[in-house]
């Protein structure tokens, strides 16, 4: 639990420091406020679907109609974090935000050779 909180805090702080203004305004501010671990969510989606295209599709479905059924997060996750409301954005704006989110957490930018 302590590890989870540390990870969440670290990633939220990092997000706050260097995310794009669009992502910052529409997603990160709220995620920081509610301490929702964005990178953990990204990794979980990536672990399930592997490609950004598939992850984008799944996240879009969720954002258009947020529910436990459209999410792949475990039920305990929703006990700890509130269920999100549907965002008042058109589909292209949602896709734009999702792409910024995926780019920001993209593992390609983080991997380095020893």
């Amino acid at each position: 639990m302590v590890r989870f909180l540390v990870i969440t805090t670290v990633s939220l702080n990092l997000m706050a420091q260097s995310s794009s203004p669009l992502l910052q305004k529409n997603c990160i501010d709220c995620h920081i406020q509610q301490q929702i671990p964005s990178e953990l969510i990204y990794r979980r989606y990536l672990m399930r679907y592997s490609t950004h295209n598939e992850v984008r599709k799944r996240l879009l479905t969720y954002l258009k109609s947020p529910s436990k059924e459209t999410s792949i997060m475990p039920s305990q996750f929703f006990l700890k974090f509130p269920q999100k409301e549907a965002m008042e954005m058109n589909e292209s704006a949602l896709v734009e935000n999702i792409d910024a989110y995926l780019d920001y957490f993209d593992v390609r930018g983080k991997l380095v050779l020893p």
């Binding site: 670290v10 990794r43 672990m47 679907y49 592997s50 490609t51 598939e54 050779l113």
Partner: protein
């Protein structure tokens, strides 16, 4: 060992060793191929182990949320990670033209292993691991295979020689029996033949004998026997005989031998045609030269037609003796050079004449050609 024995032994060894070598070569190639696959399989297993290690490392990295993720590369392996759509994510190398449908494969000097992954840690659905083939065990295998072939070759050659000697033993025994018989017979020939010839010469010199024709026949028969004795003795002693090489006047010797055969030539009413250059000198043993000339003349007379042509040509380069006799069938020309081989059995003889000529020619590195037209003529040419 006689030439025929040597030929039989070499033929046997040739067939035996070539078939054994082919068999062993094929067996070695199959063994090498099998062992090489084993070596490659072992190296593939190492790739598989590396894939497991990478999988565990990626699982750990997937739980790590630090700003940079250190890629778990380990030498001597190269690896790369791919997403489900086979897009390159990261790696220590970026190979092209991957064969996605194969789990293990070889490309040039590299071994590749494609390892599927689920769950997709860091989005990775395939690991591609490669390593340069470790040539050392393969090189050792090649050395071992060559050594095996070499040792087997020596062992089987020795075995072949042993089996070959067993194989020709009955033939050798028969030849030895024949040689012993010839040896004993020739020994018994010597004294009576010498006595007959000496007495014929005495009779001819001292008395005016009425039966001249009969005397000539006795002389011819005795000379034939005498020559046969000389030939058989030559064959018997050939290997142990001490040769005295001297400068011979072959022209003079040829004339002497023609003189010796004159009674036979006259009896067959041959038309003698001589083209003998003067002072042809050769370094030879006299007995070898006599045996060579005598056998050629004897054949040319024996197989000639009555009133036929006998042409003897001697130049600085060659001796050629031509007859207008029965000739030799083309396919038999090479065969009649062997001992006890005869193309025409109408005349007496053992078939040792051309064998003796062949031995003399071989000893002095001369060349020996027979040009013959069946039922027309035969020309034998000795070139030095």
């Amino acid at each position: 060992m006689l030439r025929s024995e040597k030929r039989s032994l070499f033929r046997f060894l040739g067939i035996y060793l070539s078939s054994t070598f082919i068999l062993f070569f094929l067996a070695t190639v199959i063994f090498y191929d099998f062992q090489k696959h084993q070596i490659i399989d072992t190296q593939n297993a190492e790739l598989s182990d590396e894939a497991e290690r990478l999988t565990q490392a990626l699982r750990q990295l997937n739980k790590t949320f630090t700003p940079s993720l250190i890629y778990p590369q380990e030498k001597p392996f190269d690896s790369a990670i791919y997403s489900l759509d086979r897009a390159y994510i990261f790696g220590s190398f970026n190979p092209k033209n991957l064969l996605w449908d194969k789990e293990y494969y070889q490309q040039g000097e590299q071994l590749f292993h494609i390892h599927p992954l689920y769950p997709y840690y860091l989005g990775v659905s395939h690991l591609v691991i490669a390593r340069t083939i470790n040539q050392e065990p393969i090189d050792n295998l090649i050395k071992m295979s060559i050594l095996f072939l070499f040792v087997a070759g020596i062992l089987f050659t020795l075995l072949g020689v042993f089996l070959g000697k067993l194989f020709i033993a009955p033939m050798k025994e028969s030849i030895e029996k024949m040689n012993r018989f010839i040896e004993d017979t020739t020994h018994e020939f010597n004294t009576p033949i010498s006595t007959i010839l000496t007495n014929i010469e005495l009779l001819d010199a001292l008395y005016d004998c009425e039966g001249k024709q009969e005397m000539k026949r006795i002389e011819i028969a005795s000379k034939t026997l005498s020559r046969l004795y000389e030939d058989l003795t030559y064959l018997k002693l050939n290997h142990n005989y001490h040769r005295q090489i001297e400068t011979l006047n072959i022209a003079q010797l040829t004339r002497e031998r023609i003189e010796y055969f004159y009674t036979l030539i006259e009896a067959k009413q041959l038309n003698l045609n001589l083209h003998i250059e003067k002072n042809i000198l050769l370094d030879m043993d006299k007995n070898d030269a006599i045996r060579m000339i005598d056998n050629l003349l004897s054949n040319a007379i024996k197989y000639n037609k009555k009133k036929g042509l006998l042409m003897v040509t001697l130049t600085q380069e060659k001796l050629s003796i031509t007859d207008s006799g029965v000739g030799i069938i083309e396919k038999n020309i090479e065969l009649i050079r062997g001992r006890f081989k005869r193309d025409n059995k109408s005349e007496g003889g053992f078939g040792i004449g051309l064998d003796i000529v062949g031995q003399v020619v071989e000893r002095y590195s001369f060349e020996f050609d027979i040009i013959s037209t069946y039922n027309k003529s035969t020309k034998v040419v000795i070139t030095w």
